[in-house]
Symmetry: D2
């Protein structure tokens, strides 16, 4: 899933950011080159305002002269440390494991499960959490464990601890909120930094919070949208990954807006999850660098 | 300009709204039919929330048995009064007269003047107001009278009175703010209800007020937009006519956003002005019904 | 499904076209009005080239003074016959029955079945035909009868007869080809005039026939698209219902195009099916009039 | 114009393509680094089908240790020759010189001239060729020399020679066809390889040749578009640079399509010209690699 190269090729992907300075690209590409790695894809970006350098590099490991541990160790010693990098290393043959949270609206849930089952995506979805029974048969039909958790102000902490435990058991690396109508506590969010993706049914920052389509209808806008973003402590304020829109007219009732919105919500959430799985997103200063 | 029918045909356009009740469409179409009018276009909309009926009807006057005054008088007596209509009557051969207000950014000004000069639009632009000299040569080259008005808190009232006077002299029916960086007083706005169109360089209601592209950049959105709307007393809160968007990425600086935004600002403002000139916009409860 | 009004209201929908002449709208609305029908929605269009009038009218039957048979008979006698109309009458409480044809690509199939199961659509899908086993488990899981039919030049006629028979048994009114990689015979198509909807993965008329994404890649286009259309005897030449696009760049391989295309194929096919179910599409001279 | 960096910085831009092999990126970035160049922007692309490597690199010359001639000579000797590159070198302070060809439709002409005059673009437009007098006053008003050339089968060769001569006198590097309704001879095209940009008012390859909007109307499409491309010997078959679309409905007459099309033609042509001026387009196998 992670590789943009052919599925038969085992590739390494490195995502990194660091203070900008000359020579970085040379140093990194030279490192890959010297160990017989073949660069499949390289994307870089310089944020001149913040003097920050961002890079995604993917290279074929077929003839690479270092094993995975050596790669990690050498890159840390000779590049990450001297250049003060934030970096992460991924391998294209690691199968991502994601968990889905859902409430009553199932369109995003169906969409993601269908992508997995039809092998459009090569990811595992071992577990689904819901706060309504309606999702259980769907989850089970698609072979995922379903947990119904009624969350109240009183039991929230404890219920979330249960969730975290189950997510750990399944080695879940990404939590996807498929129209999950329930805010997460800071504790929970901090457990999964830039590892929780939400879909909000407005073009953020417009119409934050509840019933965005009702807000849009009241304002009489001609365009509505959806936004996928990483979840942070502040509601609907996390780094935006993807957005898309659909045109509406005076003829569209709130029901029409909800219906039209569903089709972009599905697509925009799926795009964000896919980009994350492909290791194409870097987060910096509450913004995303997305290498497409 | 107003007619959607062939330019050779003289047509009447009626825009109306009233409390919804059965039989309205029959009554109106029957009225046109009885006097030998041929309906070229009919659009209607019912706002079920507010029980309000909206209609635009355009009909050929070639064989119409009433003259313009009779049409106005009879429609008022037999339809508008009994059905408590807000209505207006237009004729397709009336050439609209518009005035432009501009500051330093001239792209919308150039765009509108080019549409007029190239006969894409059949409208008159006799007068342009600016608060910088930069627009004068452009105005004069395109044959429009240019008035430089420096507006300060102190002289605002008096300067606006001057503007209103000049607009009256030219029988201006529509004021178009082509990126005019100056708020209008309530007095001025009330002189031209739903007859002042502004372009705001964001997807309202997001990023109201100054420097929307800077706000958008700070938030890290992936889509920016522009909104054309009627000007009301409250800043950037008037009825929205048209909106459009353009995608951006992490690579786009504020300068890039300003550049990309220009191209949609031009188009979105022009669309709104054209729709107004074609008598296709009705305003109700701070929203527009746009019959396209 | 058919009604755009509240689901609790029983409404009649009339779709009609006829030679254009003055007085039609009055005649029709007067007919509804006289029998205490309340017009919920009215859309009309005049094709001036072909002097043809098109109309969709939907009215509430709550206080209507005619029963369904009388409505049909009177409308025929007093309007359809004198005005030489092609017309059809639908009732909002009739639940549409559709059949799906599929090959190996299941994304559109999943999408439609999910819309039905999640009650986004109120339609029945009793039967699915496929030419590969891959779709069987999906069909059965969603509670639809699955028929595997291997179609060869030799057995095509006979296999299609079998299909027609089964479709009749289920009273199927609409056949949806969800990426069905098999052409239908003229005999079959003529059984279901404007009642077979196909999704073609290009912006028709570009890239007709097989492997449109490969064709698009070879030409180096920057935009790809999908087209939903009614199936006629000529391949990919039927009346276009809906189209949508997605941007691509030099970075997109054919695989990327196939992936990106899937998401618009799903949406564009679903939009077309929904518009058909809502009785919003009229076909004339191999074009559609779509009242949205 | 060419630089994407701050206008105050003098930068070099290198566009190159060559057979793909490992180590290229290292070699190039190392070359820049060794001579104290600071990389402002780097984009690369590998075409795996054709085993071709593409790159655009832009670097700050402030502390660069080679002068322009040395840069050109060393890059040729140490990189271009060993790696068999097609390459070109540009400097951000060189002001592009473009010529415009126009017929009767002036919207693209107005649009480009306004961008230049308003300093949105920092380019020179010394000369405009037209085959109708209508463009003369516009050209002169914007301070460009205007040449009226009536081209017939008989005088085509000779007239084009005159054009080439004038273009050479003005050191024109890019010819822009702003809706120029006249085909160019192969001789002319070969004079300016990938240096003639045309706007075609359809989404190529659909509706090649004359009257694309009429063709689109006849087919009943729901989306029309515009395509900017480099001109080659074959009509409307050159490498596509940019495309955009606008939605239409059954209500849109051919006149409406022409009107709606104008607004995307302007924008799509301008985008292509700008990308060319910024040295962001590489052409290979009749396709473009566009680094945005």
């Amino acid at each position: 899933m992670a590789s943009i190269a052919s599925p038969h090729m085992r590739a390494a992907i490195i995502l990194m950011s660091c203070p900008d300075q000359t020579g970085i690209i040379t140093a990194i590409t030279e490192f890959v080159y010297r160990h017989q790695g073949n660069i499949i894809d390289l994307d870089e970006h310089v944020d001149f305002e913040n003097h920050t350098f961002f890079m995604r590099i993917e290279f074929d490991l077929q003839n690479f002269t270092l094993n995975d541990d050596e790669l990690r160790a050498y890159f840390q010693r000779y590049l990450a440390t001297p250049y003060q990098m934030n970096w992460s290393l991924y391998f294209s043959d690691a199968k991502p494991i994601i968990a889905l949270f859902v409430s009553q609206h199932l369109h995003c849930l169906y969409d993601i499960l269908a992508r997995c089952e039809s092998k459009e995506w090569d990811v595992k979805v071992p577990v689904i959490f819901g706060n309504h029974e309606v999702a259980r048969p769907v989850a089970e039909r698609f072979g995922a464990e379903f947990h119904l958790l009624h969350i109240t102000k009183e039991n929230k902490r404890e219920q979330e601890q249960k969730q975290i435990e189950i997510l750990r058991q399944h080695n879940v690396e990404l939590v996807v909120l498929t129209r999950y109508m329930q805010t997460l506590s800071d504790e929970f969010v901090n457990e999964f930094p830039t590892r929780i993706i939400n879909i909000h049914h407005s073009l953020l920052p417009a119409f934050v919070g509840a019933k965005p389509y009702h807000q849009a209808h009241a304002r009489g806008v001609k365009i509505i949208g959806a936004t996928s973003h990483y979840v942070t402590a502040e509601l609907d304020a996390g780094p935006i990954i993807e957005q898309d829109i659909v045109r509406i007219t005076h003829k569209d009732s709130i029901q029409d807006m909800i219906r039209k919105g569903r089709d972009i919500e599905k697509v925009i959430l799926a795009r964000a999850v896919r980009l994350h799985m492909q290791r194409k997103i870097l987060v910096h200063h509450n913004k995303t660098v997305v290498f497409v």
